[in-house]
Symmetry: C3
Subunit: 98 residues, 3 copies
């Protein structure tokens, strides 16, 4: 078993195509999205935020790629969109997949 | 990066409004819900439990709030509802959000 | 609080009944499924893979059962299906449930 980083992104569903594109460009080799709803503190566009139109997106990647993803998301989206990102350690059998 | 607690609650969808209200009162500042299905050991009302009507609710919070949430859920719901709760450590960039 | 293993399986939705049956036979006492979409490296049947027809399945179990599940999934599905499996540590209040 190998330890990798699991990056979980909760954000507005409208961002899905853009964030998925970003993740791929930044080195992620796969991702999983589920539809979600919820509430939380958020950016300036919060007035437009439909709480039934969120996504929960997760990516398994190396620590290096995780750091790059976090810096990018923070710079690109945090001030204008509802976005929560958290990272945890996971064990995987096939690290070459990620 | 700051370490916070991620509390995940799997329960019957009928409890969503009540549990969300509880979480807010107990100090959670945001939550994410996804629709789920499944099976597991549960409380006395299990006969009524439609396994396609579950939710998976997650909350990021301080360790202190996590402890309060766990004690409350256990006291309020464990004996009468299908509910599984687990806690893990996550790293976040903006701990002031939670 | 007791530490258990959380096994998360991302795979094609067509496998849901079979994998759920496997998990139960291998000792899992509950599971949660959510519908998902996504992309990633995968097995030989990738041409058939509709990326809107995935599931995200999670199971809390002992380390021993987690090991058995991982070995089984790897042997049974990895070469022919899109499947990602990862494991993390979680704390639970009622370990006897799992």
């Amino acid at each position: 078993m190998n330890t990798m980083k699991l990056v979980t992104i909760i954000t507005e569903s409208i961002l899905e195509p853009k964030v998925v594109e970003d993740l791929t460009l930044l080195g992620a080799r796969g991702y999983t999205v589920v539809d979600a709803r919820g509430s939380g503190s958020r950016g300036m566009r919060s007035a437009d935020w439909d709480q039934n139109q969120n996504i929960r997106l997760e990516v398994i990647c190396s620590e290096q790629v995780a750091t790059i993803i976090l810096e990018h998301l923070q710079k690109e989206y945090y001030s204008n969109y509802a976005m929560v990102v958290y990272v945890s350690d996971v064990s995987v059998v096939q690290p070459e997949k990620f």
